[in-house]
């Protein structure tokens, strides 16, 4: 409770009210960046969010490398070479689910009403919060790479290769996250978003080439794994890390991200206004 503070003086309140010439409307970029700043502040004030998105992939990394590495690839270090770029993909993609969860949580708060009653460029709140989310994507990806290196992973592409792979994965996630934003706007509770999100992303990740070489799979499954965009992204990420960029895989990954964004940004914006 406010214990000893005096009541605000009416005079000061009056002065604060009357001293406001109205500034011109902000441009779309300014508005989006302001929301991006809000996203960063949330990362700063609620760092636990980062824990959620980094612990699971690191656990997978340790589990797969040491439990299955020998069986799948002959040795743990050979498996690490194969799987780390894929785990990078998985780790960052998991983080995109949390974008939808965060959006849904936001909607239960009154602050969204204020944002919606402001005369600003309509997609700004959504674009801005995804900007903040990209920071989380970068952190999640960096953690995986650093842990991998600590375990002995030495990509042939070196530092530039790793950075390029991370950048590609983050750009892809930026596109993918719009799907989870739609989920975040449609579902009732943050938990429902989380469940639905992981229900989709878990099978898609496991039915990709992230963990196993599809050549070892039965025919129909192999066919699915080959067209799964997550496989394509993992292949592209692997090629960048290895220092031999696979142009086709990179282009397809970027194209998928662009299509997702183009389709889902308008849907999301409309839903955000009307919910």
């Amino acid at each position: 409770m406010t214990t000893t503070t005096p009541a605000p003086t009416t005079a000061a309140v009056r002065r604060a009210i009357s001293s406001t010439p109205r500034p011109p409307r902000p441009g779309p970029l300014t508005a989006a960046l302001a929301f991006g700043w809000r996203g960063m502040l949330k990362v700063k004030h609620v760092p636990e969010q980062l824990l959620d998105v980094t612990v699971t992939p690191v656990m997978f990394l340790l589990m797969f490398t040491y439990l299955f590495g020998g069986a799948i690839a002959g040795s743990t270090s050979a498996y690490l070479d194969y799987t780390l770029p894929g785990l990078l993909v998985m780790s960052v993609l998991f983080t995109t689910v949390y974008s939808g969860v965060a959006l849904n949580t936001d909607l239960t708060k009154g602050v969204v009403d204020r944002f919606r009653s402001l005369p600003i460029w309509r997609p700004a709140p959504l674009l801005g919060s995804l900007l903040g989310d990209s920071v989380r994507y970068v952190v999640a990806g960096t953690v995986i790479i650093v842990v991998g290196v600590a375990l002995g992973y030495r990509p042939d592409g070196g530092f530039p290769g790793a950075v390029a792979a991370l950048a590609l994965v983050v750009v892809f996630s930026f596109g993918l996250s719009w799907i989870f934003s739609v989920l975040g706007l449609l579902m009732r509770t943050p938990n429902a978003v989380m469940n639905a999100g992981f229900m989709a992303i878990f099978p898609l990740t496991f039915l990709s080439n992230v963990f196993v070489d599809p050549a070892t799979l039965p025919g129909p499954l192999e066919a699915f794994v080959d067209v799964n965009p997550i496989s394509v992204l993992a292949t592209a990420s692997r090629s960048l890390m290895a220092g031999e960029p696979d142009g086709a895989a990179i282009v397809v990954s970027l194209a998928v991200a662009a299509v997702l964004a183009l389709v889902f940004i308008p849907v999301t914006t409309r839903l955000y206004r009307s919910r």
Partner: protein, 337 residues
């Protein structure tokens, strides 16, 4: 639609359904510019839904309205430029500090970084939250949060402000602070649409009141008007000596009417008492030499207003609707007379 008169809000036949619930069922409003207009009603009456339509957050499915001369559907953006909303749920970000909240809004309203920071500091100072400026809002007290909320609504001074139950759940001191701020706002020329469940709040602040029940306006007028139609409040006395309660009850029965013993051993109350009767009753007690620790004439509760206006009690869905904010001891006779 816009007649060019000095009406800040003009609504006719506004309606909105959620599934089968007819939340707002044909609301007409005429709010003069520069005044505080109270919308009084119990929980679930449709107050928030009405405000959300007028603030362009949701679109009505019947009727029409203009705010400051702009149609709320066709010219929603123009309306947004001129109004601001302090919602029933705190419309501030709990995961940010108070200062960050205000700087963010400053940026979103077009201030440069430096100007947004200056404006934030000025508001924090004026609204007495400077000392908590760097703390996360989720750790704020209810009163601080409300003040920040209102500060956030005037980062750029709006021509019209929607205030949805600004004091529900606040202690009397915080409530009085909010009232002071609201008065200062209207003093500077902002029109305010205030939703409340408390007759006392509407009485304290509003120039005009619409009473709303089940999505409809059921009465309209000045606070004096409404109270006159309800007429009476309830007299409550607390004796110095609980042992003399029976004796006091007899005195009051004679001078004011039926008396009820309160759960508290020294207290008595009587409903449906006008100010004059109450004064006589208190004087009679004094003449009989019965010492009083305290007496008050409380405003008619929302329930009593509803009973008088509709013949049925307000169908409140929670306790807050029926128990007004705690009434300070000074809040007594002359106010109602």
């Amino acid at each position: 639609m816009t007649t060019g008169t000095a009406l800040a809000i003009e609504a006719s036949g506004l309606g909105k359904s959620f599934g089968r619930t007819r939340a707002v069922n044909g609301v007409d409003l005429a709010v003069p510019a520069g005044s505080i207009y109270g919308v009084l009603g119990p929980n679930g009456a449709g107050k928030t839904t009405t405000i959300r339509m007028l603030a362009t957050l949701i679109t009505p499915d019947a009727g029409s309205a203009s705010v400051l001369g702009h149609d709320i559907v066709a010219e929603a953006d123009a309306v947004r430029e001129l109004v601001s909303l302090t919602g029933q749920l705190a419309s501030v970000d709990e995961d940010l500090t108070g200062r960050e909240n205000l700087v963010l809004l400053g940026r979103l309203l077009g201030y440069s970084r430096a100007a947004a920071r200056d404006r934030a500091d000025e508001l924090l100072e004026a609204f007495d939250i400077a000392e908590a400026a760097g703390r996360l809002v989720k750790h704020y007290s209810g009163g601080m949060r409300r003040r920040l909320d209102i500060a956030a609504s005037i980062v750029v001074t709006p021509q019209l402000m929607f205030l949805d139950e600004p004091t529900t759940g606040l202690d009397p001191r915080s409530r009085n602070q909010v009232w002071e701020i609201v008065r200062a706002l209207v003093g500077e020329g902002t029109t305010i649409l205030l939703c409340t469940q408390y007759l006392e709040e509407a009485d304290q602040l509003a120039d005009g009141i619409a009473v709303i029940d089940r999505g409809r306006v059921i009465a309209e007028g000045t606070p004096g008007h409404l109270k006159a139609s309800v007429g009476t409040g309830s007299l409550r006395v607390r004796l110095l000596d609980p042992a003399r309660r029976d004796e006091a009850a007899q005195v009051l029965e004679r001078s004011v009417g039926p008396v009820v013993a309160e759960p508290e051993p020294a207290a008595l109350s009587s409903t449906g008492v006008d100010a004059e009767r109450a004064a006589i009753g208190v004087a009679e007690l004094a003449r009989a030499g019965i010492g009083l620790a305290h007496f008050s004439l409380e405003q008619p509760s929302l329930d009593e207003v509803f009973l008088a206006l509709t013949g049925h009690a307000a169908e409140a869905t929670d306790d807050e609707a029926t128990t007004g904010p705690a009434t300070p001891a000074t809040d007594t006779l002359q106010e109602l007379s």
